[in-house]
């Protein structure tokens, strides 16, 4: 069984979308635990490529293709992971997006994929999103967490504006607000009174688990 996990990991590292999808299907066909396939295969692959990128050994296209491969596999596995999770109610709902004026989304997509893999229901509202849109989606779906990504120092202030907007609407305590993205930091999160910050996607997953439990 660990062989297929190894194959999945390699498919992700190679950015092979088709193979990643096929292997995910094989996991289902052979009644292998999809959560384990995600944790020991897909996530291992994206982590490895993420580390190489940080170390300057991999290039951005490698990261992007790995993320696409992971996404393709997760799409196949998601329904059965949700089933195993035991209905919608006890899994957390997270609204995720990139703030207004910002179009960077590679990191956000990886965060979204890992959260999905961890059993959260992720509502990705995309890039260049106003505070209103984050809140509207969160209200609509009954989310517990709002998570925003900002990659530019010119746009990170929008993370603060979202929190102010929630305060204005008297809804601040209803949601946990997470922030992330290149120029952000724990100091920044503290300064704007966010509920959490994470440097990487896997830390973001841990953080969400902690915030929701």
């Amino acid at each position: 069984m660990s062989e297929i996990f190894e194959e999945i990991k390699e498919a992700v590292i190679d950015g092979d979308e088709d193979l990643a999808g096929e292997l995910a299907q094989k996991v289902l066909d052979e009644n292998i635990n999809p959560v384990e396939a995600v944790q020991q295969g897909f996530i291992k692959g994206i982590e490895e490529i993420g580390n190489s990128w940080k170390a300057g050994e991999a290039f951005l296209p490698d990261v992007m293709m790995a993320a696409d491969a992971m996404k393709a596999g997760l799409a196949v596995l998601e329904p059965s992971i949700a089933e195993l999770g035991g209905g919608d109610d006890d899994t957390g709902k997270i609204v995720l997006g990139t703030v207004e004026g910002d179009i960077h989304d590679i990191g956000k997509n990886i965060v979204g994929a890992l959260l999905t893999a961890a059993g959260f229901k992720v509502y990705d509202i995309g890039i260049d999103q106003k505070a209103e849109n984050f809140l509207a989606k969160a209200e609509e779906v009954g989310a517990q967490i709002i998570a925003t990504s900002a990659l530019l120092t010119t746009t990170m202030n929008a993370q603060k504006e979202l929190i102010e907007y929630l305060e204005e609407k008297n809804l601040r305590s209803k949601y946990k607000v997470l922030v992330g993205g290149g120029p952000t930091s724990q100091t920044w999160a503290d300064e704007i009174k966010a509920d959490g910050w994470a440097e990487t996607a896997d830390e973001a997953v841990e953080l969400c688990k902690k915030l929701i439990s």
């Binding site: 300057g56 260049d128 530019l152």
Partner: protein, 218 residues
Amino acid sequence: MRVKLIGCASSRNEVEWLGNLGETDHEFLDYSYHANPVKLHNKLQELINESQDYDLIVLTYSRCSNSLIGLLSPKVPMLFPQTHDCIGFLLGSNERHLRFVKEKKGTYYFSQGWIDYGRTPYSEYLEYEQKYGTKKARQLIENLYGRYSKAIFIKTPGMENIEYYRGKVKEIADFFGWQLEEVEGDVGLLTSLTQGKIGPDMVYIEPGRRITESHYNP
């Protein structure tokens, strides 16, 4: 006064065109540092350490994803722009830059330096096509640049062959189906900096003090 200027390729042409006080040594770093803030930080610290026999160190790097935060020059003061990135730097002020951010959504900016020393989205496409084939290359480029709708060319004084650069930006805009706009750059900030003059949107830092986040939020 002996000045060491450590510069980014994105504004290299403007710096060279402006000239300097005569006693400035220039060192321009490779454009690829753009993609790696940690590497840029380390390289800058290394060069600052090597430049401790000057009277002033000028950096033409902006905040650039907080790459400058934590840098320390033990014996020589440093002067650098308080702008967010090369775009704000070439637009001349934070005020103007932030106005652009608000008003012009989905915009990708080009300066002469980006075209001369950087990799344009179009050349990036050609590179990926070679490496990964047409299908993957298209997908990558779509994920990278698919959500833009406009290219803005920042024209700065001293450009010799404007038509060449206009043509380059047009080629890219046409390839992606973007609108095209041209704006005047403002090298006021750059001019003061290269002359070692302290002004608005600039940080002067005494020797022995580390650059911190607060230098960018006065």
